[in-house]
Amino acid sequence: MKPLTWQHGLGILGFGLLVTGSVMGLTMAPPERHMGDVSRIAYIHVPTAWSMLLASTFAFGWALTSLWTGKERYDDLLAGSLEATVILSVLMLPSGMIWAKPTWGVWWDWDVRLTSSLVGLLLFAGILALRTFVDEPKRRATWTAVATIVAYVDIPLIYFGVRWWRSIHQVQSSPETVSGGMILPWRINAFAVLFITLWFIAMRSRIEAGRRQLEQAGEPERIAEAVA
């Protein structure tokens, strides 16, 4: 098998940047005016959320491409992006809840952003579960792609919901709305989690490709067993 050099390189770079950005965020970045040191959670929570949104957008893109071309390679990438979306959602929600407790006074609120994020996690996890119930690769790819396109409707709701409705969750920050010392650790961790996410997608799609090839290799034997 070919060594996964560039993919492993992305992962190593991502984890290295994550350590750098996190150390900077925990020790060098200034505390926020009202939230104090608790605001340092932003340097890990926000990049995780950004990458989750990106991974789901990749999934949406691969779903369209998979439907359009019918090539298995895009279904592999779709599966990788879906699983990365689920993993990042699973990490984003608890880190957000941990931030919510000292700032909002509650662990959870049925606010539009929190609720749509939870719905997104359940939808994408559901699609991954759906894949396991379909044996035929072509049908599995089609169902996954269609379900992903439908589920993606939730993503703009997560991102823009805080602007469209009254929300306890703050609106998006930008370099103009935060102190200068906060920008660098934020950017480093944003790239860190992005690189890690790309590595996850690449690895997971390789696994999916391998599994499919094993399925196809086993097909004649299964047919022979059924006929016998």
Partner: protein, 76 residues
């Protein structure tokens, strides 16, 4: 209304949030590496079992194929 006051302390929350995300990322990375190795091993085993069928069509052979070939669709 502009909020007043500042939250003091809260380092336990900060450490908990970093621990959750970093541990999750590392554990998933280990899980992926293990799964990939397991699939590789299975492919090598399967291709060993069906060695008489010709190297070109064995799963290991196809899994080794450069990704560009499959993306470009030249192999299909």
């Amino acid at each position: 209304m502009v909020p007043e006051g500042v939250i003091v302390g809260g380092w336990s929350f900060v450490i908990a949030a970093y621990a959750v995300v970093c541990t999750g990322l590392v554990l998933y990375a280990i899980h992926l590496i293990t799964r990939l190795r397991s699939v590789r091993r299975q492919i090598v085993r399967e291709s060993g079992d069906s060695g008489a069928g010709g190297e070109g069509s064995s799963p290991a052979r196809r899994f080794e194929a450069p990704a560009t070939d499959t993306v470009g669709g030249t192999r299909r």
